[in-house]
C-alpha cells in the first residue's frame, strides 16, 4: 500500500474548508456543514483499486475532481486511463471478473454503495466513447433516447431538448433538416458530435470523454475542443487524451497515470511546465510512452 500523504492529489481539504466557512456564517451546524461540503458536485476517488480477474489495473487511486473543471487523464497506453474513467460511471460493472475496492464519492455518496443504482449514476455522469457509437436509429431518436428513459415523452419538450443538445454539440446546422434520417448517415466526426449531443441531452453534471477525438480529423477535433471549452461553463469534464497539446489546450488539471498508478495530479500549467515527478517529465517531453 502506498503512503497516502505523499500523494499530491489531496487537495480537497482547502476547498471543503472554504465551504464550511461560508456555511458557518449562515449558522449551520458543523455535521451538516461537513456533509454539505461533501455534497458539492465534485468527484472524489478514495483508495480506489481495481482488478480484472487477477490483474491489478488500478492501484490505490486518490483524486479529487472539482466542479466545472476540465481534467485531462494522460499516460502511456494500457496504464489504466479508460479503466479509471469507467469506474466513475460504473461502466466497469458490465465487465466480467472486474472487482473494485475503495470509494468513488459523487454528491457526497459512494456511487458503489448498495443504495445507489448504476443507471441512476450514469444518468448524472454522462460518457462519450472513443469510437462514435450512434444507435442505428434517426438522429432525433438518438438524442431523445436518454430523456425518454427518464420518462420525458412530451413532443414539445423532446423537440426542445434535441435542438438545444445539437446546438451545444455544434451539430444543429448540419442536421436540422435531416433529424428523422438515420444517424448512421453522418460522417465520423458528426457521429462523434452526435454522441456528445446525446450525452448532453440527459443533462448530466459530469461528462466523461474517452479519447473522443482520437479518430477525427483536425477540423472536427478543433470543433470538439472548442465545444469542451464551451461546455466547461456548465459541466465537469474528465477527458482521456494521448494528445499532449490537446491536454494543455483544454484542461485545467492534468492527471498522469503509469501502470495503474496515479503518478501526479496538478494544475495543467504546472504539469506541463514544472512537473514534480521525474516520470511525468519524461512522459510529457516524449522520452517514453
Amino acid at each position: 500500500m502506498q503512503n497516502l500523504k505523499s500523494n499530491p492529489s489531496f487537495i480537497t481539504i482547502g476547498e471543503n474548508a472554504k465551504m464550511i466557512n461560508t456555511a458557518q456564517k449562515e449558522g449551520l451546524k458543523k455535521e451538516n456543514v461537513l456533509s454539505l461540503a461533501k455534497s458539492s458536485k465534485t468527484i472524489e476517488a478514495k483508495n480506489l483499486c481495481l482488478w480484472y480477474k487477477n490483474f491489478n489495473a488500478l492501484k490505490n487511486i486518490n483524486i479529487n475532481i472539482g466542479e466545472k473543471q476540465v481534467v485531462a487523464l494522460i499516460g502511456p497506453s494500457g496504464c489504466g486511463k479508460s479503466t479509471f474513467l469507467r469506474t466513475l460511471n460504473r461502466m466497469n460493472d458490465t465487465v466480467e471478473g472486474c472487482k473494485i475496492t475503495g470509494e468513488v464519492l459523487f454528491e457526497g455518496k459512494n456511487i458503489y454503495s448498495s443504495s445507489v443504482s448504476a443507471p441512476e449514476i450514469r444518468a448524472k455522469i454522462g460518457m462519450v466513447f472513443q469510437k462514435a457509437n450512434p444507435f442505428p436509429m434517426s438522429i432525433y431518436d438518438n438524442i431523445a433516447y436518454g430523456p425518454r428513459i427518464q420518462g420525458i415523452h412530451s413532443k414539445q419538450v423532446l423537440n426542445e431538448l434535441v435542438e438545444t443538445s445539437l446546438k451545444s454539440a455544434a451539430l444543429w446546422d448540419e442536421t436540422k433538416d435531416r433529424l428523422k434520417k438515420s444517424a448512421l448517415g453522418l460522417s465520423g466526426g458528426q457521429q462523434q458530435r452526435l454522441c456528445i449531443a446525446r450525452a448532453l441531452a440527459i443533462k448530466p453534471q459530469v461528462l466523461l470523454m474517452d479519447e473522443a477525438t482520437s479518430a477525427l480529423d483536425p477540423i472536427s477535433t478543433g470543433k470538439i475542443e472548442e465545444l469542451i471549452l464551451q461546455l466547461k461553463k456548465d459541466y465537469t469534464i474528465v477527458t482521456v487524451t494521448h494528445n499532449m497539446q490537446q491536454a494543455a489546450r483544454i484542461s485545467d488539471k492534468t492527471a498522469f497515470f503509469l501502470l495503474g498508478e496515479l503518478i501526479e495530479y496538478n494544475d495543467t500549467d504546472i504539469i506541463f511546465s514544472n512537473p514534480e515527478n521525474a516520470k511525468t517529465k519524461d512522459y510529457i517531453t516524449g522520452r517514453f510512452g
Binding site: N89, T94, E120, K131, N133, F135, Y145, G146, I149, I202
Partner: protein, 281 residues
C-alpha cells in the same frame, strides 16, 4: 510454372461451374418433376374439400389447415421461449461454463433425428400428460424440436450486436432490460426473423415427429377440436396417400402445395426482414 497454374485454375473453375451446375439442375429437375406430376391434379375442389370415401372425393383442406394450426401452435410457444432463452444466455447468464454447456446441448439437440422427438413427444405429451393425439400434442412436440433452432440463430444474432451499442445505451442511464429492448433486439431482428423462417420451414416439412403425436386424421373438425383429435398435416397426408393408398398423383399435388407454401413463407419473411433492415438504415 505459369502454364501449369493456368491449367490448375481452369480445372478448378471447371469443377466449380460443374458443381454449381449440377446443384442447380437437380433443384430444377425436382421442381420440374413435381410440377409435371402435381399440376394436373391441382384443382379448387381438392383444395377446398375434405376426403370422403362415400363421395369418392379426395380433398386436402383439413391438411392445409392442420399444417397452419401446427405452425401457429408451435411458434406460439417456441418463439417466446426460444428468444427468451437466447436473451438470457447471451445477456444475463453469469456462469459462462454453464452457458457453454447449455449451448452445446442445444446444438446437439438440433442434430437429433426428428422421429426421436416424435417418440419422446408421444411418451411425454400423450402418455404422461394425457393429451390426446392431435394438434396440441404435435405442436408441443414440434415446439421442443424447433426451440434449438430459434435459440441458436437468436443467440448468434444477439452476439453480433456490437458491444459499443450496449455500452452506449447503458451510459445514458438505461436499465439492462430497456437496453435489450431498444438496442439489442432491434439490431438482432433480421437474424431472429431468419431463425423463425427456418423454424416454420422445418415445421411445414416435418412428418416423422408428427406421426405419433398429431396423428393421421383426415377429417375437417375446426381448430379447437383439432387440438385434441388426430389431425394429419400436409406432409403426413402426403405420406398416407403415397404409402398407404397408392395415390401418387395426390401425393405430388400435395408436394407441389408444400413447395409453394415454403416459397411463400420464405418470400414474405425475407420481405419483412428487408423492410425492417431498411428502416434501421
Amino acid at each position: 510454372m505459369p502454364k501449369s497454374r493456368k491449367f490448375k485454375n481452369a480445372l478448378l473453375k471447371f469443377f466449380m461451374y460443374l458443381s454449381t451446375g449440377i446443384t442447380f439442375s437437380i433443384l430444377l429437375l425436382i421442381i420440374g418433376y413435381i410440377l409435371f406430376k402435381g399440376l394436373p391434379g391441382l384443382n379448387i375442389k381438392m383444395l377446398t374439400t375434405q376426403t370422403s370415401y362415400i363421395d369418392k372425393n379426395i380433398g386436402i383442406l383439413p391438411n392445409i389447415l392442420n399444417t397452419l394450426y401446427i405452425i401457429f401452435v408451435s411458434m406460439l410457444f417456441a418463439v417466446p421461449l426460444g428468444i427468451g432463452a437466447a436473451v438470457y444466455l447471451t445477456e444475463y447468464a453469469k456462469c459462462k461454463p454453464l452457458v457453454k454447456a447449455i449451448s452445446f446441448a442445444i446444438e446437439t439437440l438440433m442434430g437429433i433425428p426428428s422421429i426421436i422427438y416424435g417418440l419422446v413427444g408421444m411418451l411425454f405429451f400423450t402418455s404422461i400428460m394425457g393429451l390426446k393425439q392431435g394438434i396440441l400434442a404435435g405442436g408441443l412436440t414440434l415446439t421442443v424440436m424447433i426451440i434449438p433452432t430459434i435459440v441458436t440463430t437468436t443467440k448468434e444474432s444477439l452476439a453480433a450486436v456490437p458491444n459499443s451499442l450496449r455500452e452506449g445505451s447503458l451510459a445514458l442511464g438505461s436499465g439492462k432490460w430497456h437496453m435489450i429492448k431498444t438496442v439489442v433486439l432491434p439490431n438482432a431482428k433480421n437474424g431472429i426473423i431468419t431463425g423463425c423462417v427456418l423454424a416454420v420451414g422445418r415445421i411445414t416439412g416435418e412428418s416423422a415427429a408428427l406421426l405419433f403425436t398429431a396423428g393421421f386424421g383426415l377429417k375437417l373438425v375446426g381448430f379447437i377440436k383439432a387440438l385434441q383429435s388426430s389431425s394429419a398435416t400436409l406432409t403426413v397426408a402426403l405420406y398416407i396417400y403415397a404409402s398407404e393408398q397408392g395415390e401418387f398423383n395426390i401425393a405430388f399435388t400435395i408436394a407441389l402445395i408444400l413447395v409453394a407454401i415454403t416459397f411463400i413463407i420464405n418470400t414474405v419473411c425475407y420481405a419483412l426482414g428487408n423492410k425492417i433492415g431498411k428502416k434501421n438504415k
